[in-house]
Amino acid sequence: MSFTTSPHLIKDTSVSQVMIQVCIALMPGILAYIWLIGPAIIVQLFIATASALLAEALMLRLQGKPLSLFLSDGSAIVTAWLIALTFPPLAPWWLVCTGAIFAIVIAKHLYGGLGQNPFNPAMVAFAVCIVSFPALMSQWPSIGLKLTLVEQINIILGFSPSIDALSGATPLDALKTALKLGEGNVDVGHLLANQDIFGNFAGRGWEWVAAGYLLGGLWMLQRKIITWHVPTAFIGAISLISGALWLYNPMQFADPLFHLLSGGTTIGAFFIATDPVSGCTTPRGKLIFGAGAGLLAYIIRVFGGYPDGVAFAILLMNLSAPVIDLLSQPKIFGMKDKKA
């Protein structure tokens, strides 16, 4: 027999099991998305997954790593899904494709592959595309726009290039633009109540997608796929700063609930900021990481030039994660009352 050392038992767990559970946790959000936008998102998920897996296979082949082992770990699929879910649903196919390939080839494999990437690949893809194709990345389908699957596929594949007429801004963008145009004479409460783009809590329809991610996130917490630290700190930080500014001036600043259910708050808090590879790993580090990302996301989305700040906030915190981890090493058993 082969020479083995203790422990001789291992738990029935694997990277692919973890990744599959992350995909399952995304399902409530995806279902809400389909209900809101239509099946186009499934097409986008498919395009992203196929491009990511192809890119992954190519990179594994180039590095001489075992294809079946690494292709089945599910990490590329999670990255692909996050890209598809954060890009505009009617974006042209090549945009999602470019994002997925960039994420896998540049952000993941050029840094050493699984477990080695300093930045979250999906967020790198988002940042690259929003900087390179700002117009395309800001065109979201108008609410109430009813399109058939064929029409949606035609738009995605570029056969009916009439996207400008069909699309609008995101709720966050709409609010920001309205406030800018109103120059202090508009009231946030009034805007939210009267514009068609806003629903009960945040963007009409989008609020339910965000709630779907929240549900999936809580399930992951229960399954111990993630710990409470990052989501709590992330959501806590956004709530605190948005709450403080809202109390300070409710005319100019939206309420915390609006911010929690807008844009990428919930998907960011539970699915992206919790990425262990590019995030912090110590308990205190995770709290700092989550809070920092939440704070930055709010600042960028409210005061910055981009429709949402979650992607940049997480990338900026990815940058600081190694230092945070270094400085937040927990005290070990038997050393807690000692200064070290």
């Binding site: 027999m1 767990t13 477990g115 262990p276 058993f333």
Partner: protein
């Protein structure tokens, strides 16, 4: 301690209830399938006498006992065969009566697979005891008891095998607060302590009382994992029967609750730092439940430690606990449990911290608590190792609150300094991190590698330093010897010179007599000496004169560069000499000025 009757019972129940409430938690831990029910349903059975017994002399931590028997000696059961060597060492005894067949190197049950000195006994089948009986416990001083336990070979039976008497001496400055009997038995598969408690609880309590008498702790706690209700009940009954104020506490089953430091934490809330060698420094001492039993057998019955309970389980038909003589070859023993044909190895200890014995003929020793028949069915090989995704599952499982993923990273990079900064030596190798890793990284192996590399480097460094010390000392010694020699020579030369001077003075006083003495050989010794000296002086003078002549001839023969100069050259020389005359006082002047 003087409680009695209902009051006693009431107080104890109250105390136990309170203590149960006050249990503490340690960080992390895992819950692997326990697999204990296979082997704990049947009572302990005495294993039959094996064909031969191979008793290693080195079975516990510390010095290797010296053999005190020779090939061909007849030994009786319980007779001393290995004398303890030093304080941290424990004696070894013949497990049965018979003949010493060999005192030779044999494989020992250790991951290294190395041989060690063993006494091989061919049993005579009579199993005849040496004269023995209970010790006069009441008359013995603590020091007597320590040396008694050492001579009776009592060592920790929980795993490490530390000589028990070494733990029974108090740290003078620290009050002993808690004596803990470790009966957690947290490793999967093992049930030897469970069965021992069920069947021999009273003797365990008596052994515990000996430790209590020695250490005089404020509390005595027997910690048992809550998955052993029968054992807990038996222990509680025994404690009650003997009216001892011991608490039998059920601790939550969570591996590694049976680690000494984890059990201390759970029962007392104290955290003993990894670097602290002895828990006694924190006012706690822990003994395995089997050790308490062995101590009582030694003191109460005069029986040295020659057998122990061993669980035979795993890939076998009939898992069960056996009372086994130390020295029984493992393959012979395992046959009792009828291993399945696909058994491909023997695992000694539990699956979390045990090891595959490199040779199945290795004997059972004092620390062999469990033999598990290994097969791929029971222990499937780990799936291929994937990269670490820093999920932190290992850190959440680590009972010492280390960051295994960081240690792994540094160990892999051979950055051993960093591994020490991240406390690699606090790692107890419990295996929780490897167990939970979704990437199936054998983390503990990386840590063992890093530790052994660090040790190897320390050894090399120490070796280099002592070599340097030796070299420097050698140099110092040689120099000193040289100096001594020179001094001696100088002294001798001085003495010689002084003697010569005195003789020369004497010779000068009688120069003429010397010449006469040449023709008068009957003259006394001193004048004869001076005659010889005078003769020598004359010879020397002749030689010197000859040398002077030779020198003059050489000088005359050699042409100097100042000879045969023409007029121009002579003028130049004269000019230069004149300039020198002027310059020399001037050159000396600045120095004088500076001084002024």
């Amino acid at each position: 301690m003087a409680l009695s009757g209902n009051c006693d019972q009431g107080n104890r129940n109250e105390r136990e209830r309170l203590m149960l409430k006050n249990l503490f938690k340690f960080h992390g831990g895992v819950k692997p399938p326990t697999n204990k029910t296979q082997s704990n349903t049947q009572p302990i059975l005495a294993a039959p006498m094996p064909s031969r017994l191979v008793v290693p002399l080195h079975q516990s931590i510390g010095g290797t006992p010296r053999p005190v028997v020779e090939v061909g000696d007849k030994v009786l059961k319980g007779q001393l065969i290995g004398q303890a060597d030093g304080w941290i060492s424990a004696a070894v005894h013949a497990p049965t009566s018979g003949t010493v067949a060999e005192v030779a190197m044999h494989v020992r049950p250790h991951p290294s697979g190395l041989d060690s000195l063993c006494v091989v006994i061919n049993p005579d089948g009579k199993d005849e005891w040496i004269a023995h009986g209970p010790a006069d416990y009441a008359a013995m001083s603590p020091a007597d008891i320590c040396s008694y336990l050492q001579q009776y070979g009592v060592v920790g039976l929980g795993g490490a095998g530390f000589p028990t008497h070494g733990k029974l001496t108090l740290t003078p400055s620290v009050a002993m607060e808690d004596l803990i009997i470790n009966a957690a038995e947290c490793e999967p598969f093992i049930t030897c302590d469970d069965l021992l408690m069920r069947e021999r609880a009273e003797e365990i309590v008596r052994g515990t009382a000996i430790f209590r008498d020695m250490l005089k702790p404020q509390r005595v706690i027997i910690g048992v994992e809550d998955n052993k209700p029968e054992a807990i009940a038996a222990m509680q009954a025994a404690v009650k029967q003997l009216a001892e104020p011991f608490s039998v506490i059920a601790v939550p089953a969570l591996y590694p609750a049976g680690g000494a430091k984890q059990l201390i934490r759970v029962l007392t809330g104290k955290e003993v730092p990894g670097a602290m060698r002895s828990t006694a420094d924190m006012g706690v001492q822990v003994f395995n439940v089997g050790t308490a039993y062995a101590a009582w057998r030694a003191i109460g019955h005069g029986e040295p430690l020659i057998s122990r309970i061993v669980t035979l389980t795993g890939n076998v038909h009939a898992p069960r606990n056996y009372e086994v003589l130390i020295g029984t070859p493992m393959d012979e023993l395992l046959k009792l449990a009828a291993p399945h044909p696909d058994t491909d190895g023997i695992l000694m200890g539990g699956p979390m911290m045990g090891f595959i014995v490199p040779n199945r003929q290795a004997p059972v020793i004092k620390t062999t608590n469990c033999l598990i028949a290994h097969s791929p069915r029971f222990f499937p090989p780990a799936p291929p190792e994937m990269p670490c995704i820093r999920c932190g599952a290992c850190a959440r499982a680590c009972p010492h609150e280390l960051q295994p993923y960081e240690l792994y990273w540094f160990a892999r990079a051979k950055n051993f300094g960093k591994t020490q900064e991240y406390h690699i030596f606090d790692c107890i190798e419990c295996g929780c991190c490897s167990y939970v890793c979704p990437s199936h990284i054998p983390l503990v192996q990386y840590f063992r590698f890093a530790k052994s590399e660090i040790w190897a480097r320390e050894r090399e460094k120490n070796a280099a330093e002592s070599a340097k010390d030796r070299f420097e000392f050698k140099q110092l010694r040689e120099e000193r010897e040289k100096a001594d020699k020179a001094e001696k020579l100088a002294k001798a030369a001085a003495a010689q010179a002084a003697k010569k001077a005195a003789e020369a003075a004497a010779a000068a006083a009688a120069p003429v007599e010397g010449a006469e003495a040449l023709v008068e050989p009957a003259n006394p010794a001193p004048s004869q000496t001076s005659t010889v000296d005078a003769e020598k002086e004359a010879k020397k003078a002749t030689i010197l004169a000859a040398m002077e002549r030779a020198k003059a001839q050489r000088e005359a023969a050699q042409i100097k560069n100042t000879d045969n100069l023409n007029a121009q050259q002579q003028r130049d020389i004269a000019e230069i000499e004149a300039r020198r005359e002027v310059i020399q006082p001037t050159a000396a002047a600045p120095a004088n000025e500076n001084q002024a």
